[in-house]
Symmetry: C2
Subunit: 176 residues, 2 copies
């Protein structure tokens, strides 16, 4: 499993099938899994495991190895990254329907930022081994999930690229 089971403050809730209704509710509000049919969500849920974390739990730690993404079902979490001086900077606060940790799920590289539960947090986890099984056993569903992940990363890439260009522009205007 994901290594997440060994973290203090985390209670395993089993596979995600009992949470299919909640996942259905969530996908009504978000883009990820938007065009998945009910049957496909149920199939997908079999490859995910659910957990509950107490407030303050660091679910993901910057710089550590990690191979799973999580989908927040209930509660909220803060995304934190250390700046150049080693001081924690809050990058975002996220709630139900948001995913975290996709980058390490995909490339296995160390976590880019940390993620801490702001209140009791329920979430579904998809790890690399499950993703591999999913694309092998259900390639059509796998393709759909990978396309959704591509859309998600792509959107983020467009946003961050535009922010970077704006930041460089602002720096240039101030410096010159």
């Amino acid at each position: 499993m994901s290594g997440i089971e060994t973290l203090p403050g985390i209670e395993p809730l089993g596979d995600a099938t009992p949470f299919v209704d909640r996942i259905h509710e969530i996908i009504a509000a978000i883009r990820l899994f938007d065009d998945f049919e009910g049957r496909e969500i149920e199939m997908l849920a079999r490859y995910m495991r659910c957990y509950r974390a107490v407030q303050g739990t660091e679910i993901i730690r910057e710089g550590e190895a990690g191979d799973f993404m999580l989908l927040i079902l209930d509660g909220s979490a803060e995304v934190i990254k250390q700046d150049a001086r080693g001081l924690p900077q809050v990058l975002a606060a996220v709630g139900p329907g948001k995913t975290l940790g996709e980058m390490s799920l995909i490339d296995g590289e160390p976590r880019f930022s940390s993620c801490v539960a702001l209140d009791p947090l329920e979430f579904a986890v998809l790890d690399r081994a499950s993703l591999s099984r999913l694309v092998t056993e259900e390639p059509h569903l796998g393709v759909k999930l990978l396309m959704e992940l591509l859309m998600l990363l792509n959107q983020r890439l467009r946003t961050i690229s535009a922010e970077l260009i704006a930041c460089r522009e602002a720096r240039r205007l101030r410096i010159r």
Copy 2:
């Protein structure tokens, strides 16, 4: 087809199967398609079409609709984006093995930047319709290609996110 056939300065070279050897050469040097077998590259080539563009051709234009990515086989191209004042800024120069235009292939949103041939350019094109056919007809190969695209976007996202954080940090230190 991709709409690219209607551009001046572009000569269609047919599907990519005659270029399989060249594509093999290229993948030896790059990560994309890295773990594709020869047979899979040949299969993939059937879904791509090759073109040659004369020097100075704007293959992709910022802000325009687009639904294809291209893989540079020979020659080089400049990636250009207009800044806030409408002046062109060169973001990068890229050569054989580099891909361009994946973001619009994936989400169909307008092109983020322009792409101009710096010298006679040969490239293979994969458009949305071909990608859809590929994932439907060859889901296992489709999964592999999507995973490669995910790796690519992911790596870029990590790089650009780090650059953005550094830029904001630099701005903050100068301003305060």
